[in-house]
């Protein structure tokens, strides 16, 4: 089904379902939004020409529907048993667990790299960005602080250590996404505006990375070393990866800086330590990849030209934004 009008239809329902979920008065409305989200995402990712995407979409359906069932059950228990608004109890742990499973957060993350491996780049982009919105916001409505802090630590550690031994670019970005989920969960505990800021910048960075890989049709790391990329593509890769890792002066540092600020204000010193150490592990891995791609170029086959699907101006613009956004963002204080 390579029909663009079908895709438009399901994309429209996908966007609409998130809005239903986050703007409903009742928990049932939230659950309905999540279900419609699942319903409309499955036709976008299942592509009958590829056996792997069929398997992937079925696995996605199974895990997400399990989480939805869990969520619905916990909502019903909450309605029938709890008469108070106290957030830090066992029911909130269960509800948060089901939402974390929807997002692919640790310790319910085992499906996430597997499924990301089976999807194309654009579908991955939807999975990593848009599909996180409604579970995040629902999480903010009824969260259990201590449980979420423990989950954040698990997310950070698993996201950083899991990505170390990967050769597939998709799985690498999946583990990076799990790590960034840790940052996002903390930001949503502070304030929704902060989460929105982090989320928008993260989405932009992921979009730049994914569009670069999509244009070059790269799915594995050996393709970075084999293709005869010109210098500017490699430079763009460097900038984007380092931005994703949160290195100043690139754009990705800004949201992390603000979150660390809030962490220290609220005296979460140990958590700050874990945030920073895991970021370092992730940056180590990114640097390993990009430095290798700069230096490994033993392949100078003259008749193989890197075919770019579109022109480079979008990529150049995105690099410019990544570098200069730190400076440009200071203009908001004018």
């Amino acid at each position: 089904m390579n029909n663009n009008s079908n895709k438009m239809f399901f994309l429209f329902i996908l966007f609409f379902s998130t809005l239903i979920s986050i703007s409903s008065n009742s928990w049932f409305g939230c659950w309905i939004g999540l279900e419609i989200n699942l319903l409309s995402f499955i036709p976008l990712i299942s592509n009958s020409k590829n056996l792997l995407s069929v398997e992937t979409s079925l696995k996605y359906f199974l895990t997400q529907s399990l989480a939805s069932i869990n969520f619905l059950f916990m909502i019903l228990i909450k309605f029938s048993l709890l008469k108070n608004f106290n957030m830090n109890n066992i029911i909130s742990i269960m509800m948060n667990s089901s939402l974390l499973m929807k997002m692919g957060s640790a310790p319910f993350h085992f499906w996430f790299p597997n499924i990301v491996e089976g999807l194309s780049w654009m579908n991955n982009f939807m999975l990593m960005t848009w599909q996180k919105i409604s579970p995040m916001i629902l999480l903010s409505y009824y969260f259990n602080k201590n449980f979420l802090i423990f989950m954040i630590i698990m997310n950070l550690i698993i996201g950083s250590l899991g990505g170390l031994n990967q050769t597939s670019l998709r799985k690498l970005l999946a583990f990076s996404s799990i790590n960034n989920l840790g940052w996002m969960i903390f930001s949503i505990m502070i304030s929704e505006n902060l989460w929105l800021f982090y989320f928008l910048i993260y989405s932009m960075m992921i979009f730049m990375m994914i569009s670069l890989f999509f244009l070059m049709n790269m799915y594995f790391m050996n393709q970075l070393f084999i293709n005869n990329m010109n210098f500017f593509i490699k430079l763009n890769l460097l900038i984007n990866f380092l931005s994703l890792g949160g290195l100043p002066p690139f754009m990705g540092f800004m949201p992390k800086w603000i979150i660390i600020n809030f962490l220290l204000i609220n005296k979460f010193y140990f958590l700050t330590f874990i945030f920073m150490m895991t970021s370092l592990i992730i940056i180590y891995y990114y640097i390993r990849i990009i430095y290798s791609s700069f230096m490994f170029n033993y392949f100078k086959m003259k008749w193989v030209n890197l075919l770019m699907k579109n022109n480079m101006s979008l990529i150049n613009l995105s690099s410019f934004i990544s570098i200069s956004s730190m400076i440009l963002s200071t203009f908001i204080f004018m």
């Binding site: 020409k49 398997e55 990967q166 050769t167 290798s292």
Partner: protein, 307 residues
Amino acid sequence: MSLLKTNVITSVKYLRSFSVLCRKSNQDHHLKKCPILFNTQRWLFWERHRKGGYDTTIKTSNWEHLKNGLVELKHELKLFAKELKELYDMDPLLIARPGEIDLLWCFNSPTVLEKFVTTCDSDHGEGYSSCNLEMSPAGRALFHGYLDTRVPKDGRIKKAGYCAMRSKMQRKSFKRASTFDWHLYNTLVLKVRGDGRAYLLNISTEGYYDITWNDIYHYILYTRGGPYWQVAKIPFSKFVLGSKGRLQDKQTRMRFDKVTHFGISCGDKIVGKFNLEIEYVGLEFDPTHDEEFAYEMYKTDKYIVAV
């Protein structure tokens, strides 16, 4: 109901869903006994058993299971330690250098032969062929036997005559199934010395769901009969997808990181001996090969299903 039951006790049923009710045969101890009748036609795509209904378990007592388990525990712990060390090293193979052949199996010692399993149609009473995988006098693996296309006269099957060797499933520690990861490569390299017969190379990519359990990518390897070795470099684009032996109309790309088995089989309907000597099976990355699929696919009308 009791009439049905007495019928069941006197005759033997087979679990494979396209069997027919038949009289007791001499080689029935391998097959499962089940009191349910099956029709000759298959109504579903659903596969009940991964191995197709054949009972291949070896019966051991509980005490022996315990003893074997303790020995295997030590072995599994060693494997686990090895995996942890690999994780700690964080040095996965990132590139396959062109012109280098990374060997999967090099058949220069008998221990490598334990990684393969041979099957033929006489194993479950479906034919009279025989095969064996052992070391040849030249010090390499020899897959040899006798192919017989005679059909056993009990009406269960219509065609007979196949012999196959297949690699055992890759395992991680603690009996977890794992797959080969061949995403760095695009060519399969075999050094064989055949007898002029055509052998079928099978790459099996069993997935997670039962629909893909029988998906095997085939390639017919024509061997020369002479005393000289031949090196066959077969790109993965030349393999064709088949399920349970039937080539599919809708061909899809091989999932290189989900390859479960590699096998060679002989089933060319020629009655007689076959000998295939194998020196190594390896993989190579050929950067000049940019073919996606070697065979022409036709665009069909929309009312033709499954393409």
